[in-house]
Symmetry: C2
Subunit: 203 residues, 2 copies
Amino acid sequence: MSTLKKQYHHGDLTKSLLESAALIIKEQGVESLSMRKLADVVGVSRTAPYHHFKDKNALLCALAEQGFYEQEKILNNLIAQKQSGEKSFTQYVHLYLGYAQQHSETYDLMYGRAIWKAGEPNDALKAVSKRTFKVWIEWVEVLQDQKVLTDTNTPLRIGQTTWASLHGLARLIIDGIYLEQSDLSEMIDQMVKNLCIDSSTCA
Amino acid sequence: MSTLKKQYHHGDLTKSLLESAALIIKEQGVESLSMRKLADVVGVSRTAPYHHFKDKNALLCALAEQGFYEQEKILNNLIAQKQSGEKSFTQYVHLYLGYAQQHSETYDLMYGRAIWKAGEPNDALKAVSKRTFKVWIEWVEVLQDQKVLTDTNTPLRIGQTTWASLHGLARLIIDGIYLEQSDLSEMIDQMVKNLCIDSSTCA
DNA sequence: CTCTTATCTTGACAGTGTCAAAATTTAAAT
DNA sequence: ATTTAAATTTTGACACTGTCAAGATAAGAG
């Protein structure tokens, strides 16, 4: 309760664990994040983290959750600022792929098999991911009205496929299949053209 | 050398290891494939596999390699049978995603981070993946001539982005983000329309 | 039959996730 | 202020992982 919130035991272990874990995965990749090493970095015994996160999966879920908050913020910011639909969408594509590139490990947790297949997404994660997707779909509907995205199908379907395309590019970047920035930038431009109705105004 | 090829030690351990490993990842996922359990299944001691594969990464590379042979075969078959470009392409999309769905673990090895980022693709794997991609790009050029895919960019770029879109859908299926077959089938149809020039003839 | 080489096994080490029980520190109750 | 209850952390343990080094075994060559 004093100015330094560290009078008791560790202070806020939960927070420290998340921060250190985020740093570790960012710098060394998610496969070299171990509960024991994490505990050691934070300066606590091997099993201390287990009183703040049920297990490793729960920790990973929490990290992924933070990623969704970030992504939701990006989306809402773009939707809020009222510029032309084409510009907004093009910008979103770049922001989305930029995020995937710069926070590749978090992105992988958000959508990768570690949690969604090998592990088990917890309720909080399922909730925020669902909510973020909903924001996206609602924006797709607007973009359809603005003739930026095709309206030959429901917002849900167009949102699903459009996002799948972005996701595919993101994964190729993340998994290290395309690395040269020159290829990447041209691929992103072409992808925008693929996704927009009017490929001349987008890009 | 007799009818039962098992006179000496094991027979063909390399082959047995690959077969059993393929079975294990297919039925239980790649994360529950361990060198020790694999050795046990094949009926050999823990370290015997290490005389046939340098390490676990090498084993995974070999499994991925087989996947590429399969995929190359699919591609070549489709290219060989001369039917309309639209039909061929549509069929390819379905075959591609069908493969991803039915051999999801192998697909993950082929393009996933386990090998390409966390691990290290060996020379054989790099070679066959490159070759498969080349076959794809050459077919894209044909599809562009047939006005199935857009020719507003080079075969390489269009091939990259088109494949990225397919890959994205494949990953969503594999990582368990979309599971209901009803959604899936409609998403695939919509994706085909997105990728083709003439969305009315494709689908 | 001996020797070389290919193949496989045993032993060992460091690392992992996580459970159970004990210890400690803090906050609440009297 | 002293006792009590709760929150927090630690120690010990177990089963599992990948993989190295050294020894054992078996196959084929001479």
